[in-house]
């Protein structure tokens, strides 16, 4: 029996498969203001001292936006790099190794950046 539930869930007969596409779009939309924020943050601190840069990043609003940028970009990057690998790496072994390496890279930069922001905000 067909119910309107399938339409509410937004999934077709395959019951899946559009999550990655959707996640890529949502992170892309989030990244537009966040990237503008990053560029402005960097440009405004050219030639700034260590103390000034640290104090800027320690502000709660700045830290929240930075964390949002890091998480959103890491997810977006992982999807994009996997798509490129899927398209151009044809040998199965290389493909799996490359995708795992990509996942590890995205995870590593995301964790390291997040930890740094937390350390800056919470003070050493």
């Amino acid at each position: 029996m067909a119910t309107p539930l399938k339409r509410v869930r937004g999934l077709g007969a395959a019951h899946g498969g559009t999550e990655t596409f959707w996640r890529q779009r949502v992170t892309a939309i989030a990244n537009i203001p966040l990237v503008i924020f990053l560029i402005l943050s960097i440009v405004c601190h050219i030639g700034a001292s260590y103390a000034e840069v640290k104090a800027y990043l320690a502000q709660p609003i700045v830290a929240v936006l930075m964390l949002a940028l890091i998480i959103s970009s890491a997810i977006h990057m992982r999807i994009g790099l996997k798509e490129i690998i899927d398209d151009y790496v044809h040998s199965e072994g290389c493909k799996i190794v490359a995708i795992i390496a990509t996942t590890f890279f995205a995870g590593a930069v995301a964790i390291a950046s997040t930890l740094s922001i937390l350390k800056i905000v919470l003070g050493s």
């Binding site: 779009r25 892309a28 939309i29 990244n31 537009i32 990237v35 990053l38 560029i39 440009v43 405004c44 050219i46 030639g47 700034a48 260590y50 840069v53 640290k54 990043l57 930075m66 970009s73 890491a74 990057m77 994009g80 790099l81 490129i84 890279f105 930069v109 390291a112 950046s113 930890l115 740094s116 922001i117 350390k119 800056i120």
Partner: protein, 134 residues
Amino acid sequence: MSNELEAGRPLSPHLQIYRPMLTMMMSIAHRISGASLAVGFALLTWWLVAISMGPEAYACVAAFFGSLIGRALLLLFTWALIHHMLGGIRHLIWDTGAGFSRTSIEVLAWATITGSIVLTILVWVVGYGIMGVS
């Protein structure tokens, strides 16, 4: 007769003889800029980690970004970031179903290239201006 007909037939497109088109180059540029942003993300991580570590680590990163190679990398990073962002906006417009006419495709492609170059130059001019003032 059959030879004449054969000569008049269109040949199937082949990768090596395919005339490069703007939209096709834009698609490739979107992927290349996206992939190179992975390097940019690593640079951003290095910068954040150094700030969290202390003044000595930060001085090291600042010296690298101030060097010629550092500046060249940052310039490419800025351009890749802006180009990928504008290209992404183009894709989001297409996702709504709009902008698929032959004219709009060309206009959007040119807007992305011109926009990314102009904005990158603007960011750097402002950046150097701030550096000159401080």
